[in-house]
């Protein structure tokens, strides 16, 4: 055990020559126990890592629609986040005149990421419109925003489903929110 060496108390009182051999040893074990208990407690309760965050900037809502720039159909890619983690996408704009070709994919490496990488290479100013359906999960939204970061796509927007998109999804998959 830990010990404290007794000090030589040679100069005792009363001229006694014999040094008194009183041991000054203290049993430090309880103190050490307590110290380690506290150490363990604080180590376990401390949260070191601050949570990770993803920054999102939403556009300021324009008061005047004239001030907004029109999106070119050749640069647009719409990604629809369906039910059960499904992803659908089409190129161009769905304005009701011509029906774009809706394709289905998923969140895997070879899925939407490959699509975004391929299109990003051919269309430099690719703008992605992200439209989650009502039955999609929050996880899907975060995942697709993450894919935007991974594929270096800088122009993207989170928008709501239009009626035309719902109709398109319904004609292709048979349900308004995907299979």
């Amino acid at each position: 055990m830990a010990e404290i060496q007794p000090k030589g108390d040679g100069g005792g009182k009363g001229g006694k020559k014999r040094a008194k051999k009183m041991s000054t040893k203290i049993d430090m074990t309880p103190m050490v126990d307590l110290a380690f208990l506290l150490l363990t407690f604080f180590m376990l309760t401390t949260t070191f890592n601050k949570p990770q965050t993803m920054e999102i900037n939403m556009p300021v809502k324009a008061k005047d629609p004239v001030e907004q720039t029109e999106l070119k159909a050749s640069e647009a890619l719409t990604v629809i986040l369906g039910k059960n983690d499904k992803v659908y996408y089409y190129q161009g704009l769905n304005d009701g005149k011509s029906q774009p070709e809706l394709k289905s994919t998923d969140f895997s490496d070879k899925g939407i990421r490959q699509v975004l990488l391929d299109l990003g290479r051919t269309i430099p100013k690719l703008t992605v419109l992200i439209k989650p359906v009502k039955t999609a999960r929050y996880k899907n939204v975060v995942d697709i925003l993450d894919e935007m970061n991974i594929t270096n796509t800088r122009r993207y927007a989170l928008v709501e489903m239009t009626d035309l998109d719902t109709k398109l999804l319904e004609t292709v998959t048979g349900a308004p929110d995907g299979k």
């Binding site: 604080f42 990770q52 999102i56 039955t135 999960r137």
Partner: protein
């Protein structure tokens, strides 16, 4: 049989350096510890490759559970106090000194204004037990917007962080983003878990 030689010197060893180190570590952890906050709503956040850390202070945390209940929390005890006073004045609820003290120490709550006073007046064990209904955020009774607005008036530096569960509905999230945009908050953080970067990732 060989004779076992009894070692006569005492097996005591000098523990002083170990104890020194232990106390040094205790002191270190005591001073750096921010006690892990007690979560009233358990949320499993989605993961992302983002490495941006949340700021240490001035954060509004809007927690959304998988059952679409919304909890509100802000850090900084002076901010909380003046926020409660402002909200009380707006909704004509007066809080006693005790209730204000309780609110000062509450890091996240999900009570509508009507039930907040009785919630703060409860005993701590009782407060833990009841299920909080969440803060109303629909267009008829938009208390969440008021909380955000009043917090921003109290402390203009606050950052809004949304902590949503993986299986939260998208319409709920969209509605909360809408509430924030109504209050001119166009920049906010989504709290996520860490995820490994894929190998083909190229940083900007």
């Amino acid at each position: 049989m060989p004779k076992v030689k009894v070692h006569r010197t005492s097996p005591s060893l000098d523990m002083t350096p170990m104890v020194d180190l232990a106390f040094l570590l205790v002191t270190f952890f005591m001073l750096t510890a921010t006690p892990s906050q007690e979560e009233k709503l358990i949320v499993d956040t989605p993961s992302s490759i983002s490495e941006i850390k949340l700021p240490e202070k001035d954060v509004i945390t809007i927690t959304i559970g998988s059952d679409n209940r919304v909890f509100y929390g802000v850090d900084g005890q002076p901010t909380r106090l003046s926020l409660l006073d402002k909200m009380g004045a707006k909704y004509n609820v007066s809080f006693s000194e005790e209730e204000r003290r309780t609110f000062e120490l509450t890091n996240s709550f999900g009570m509508p204004m009507a039930g907040l006073k009785s919630y703060l007046a409860m005993a701590p064990e009782q407060r833990k037990k009841i299920t909080q209904p969440g803060i109303p955020f629909d267009s008829v009774k938009n208390e969440l917007g008021d909380w955000v607005l009043q917090t921003r008036l109290t402390n203009p530096d606050v950052v809004v962080a949304i902590k949503g569960d993986q299986s939260t509905d998208v319409p709920t999230i969209q509605r909360i983003i809408e509430v924030l945009q109504e209050k001119k908050v166009n920049r906010f953080n989504l709290i996520t878990d860490m995820e490994m970067k894929p190998s083909n990732y190229k940083p900007r």
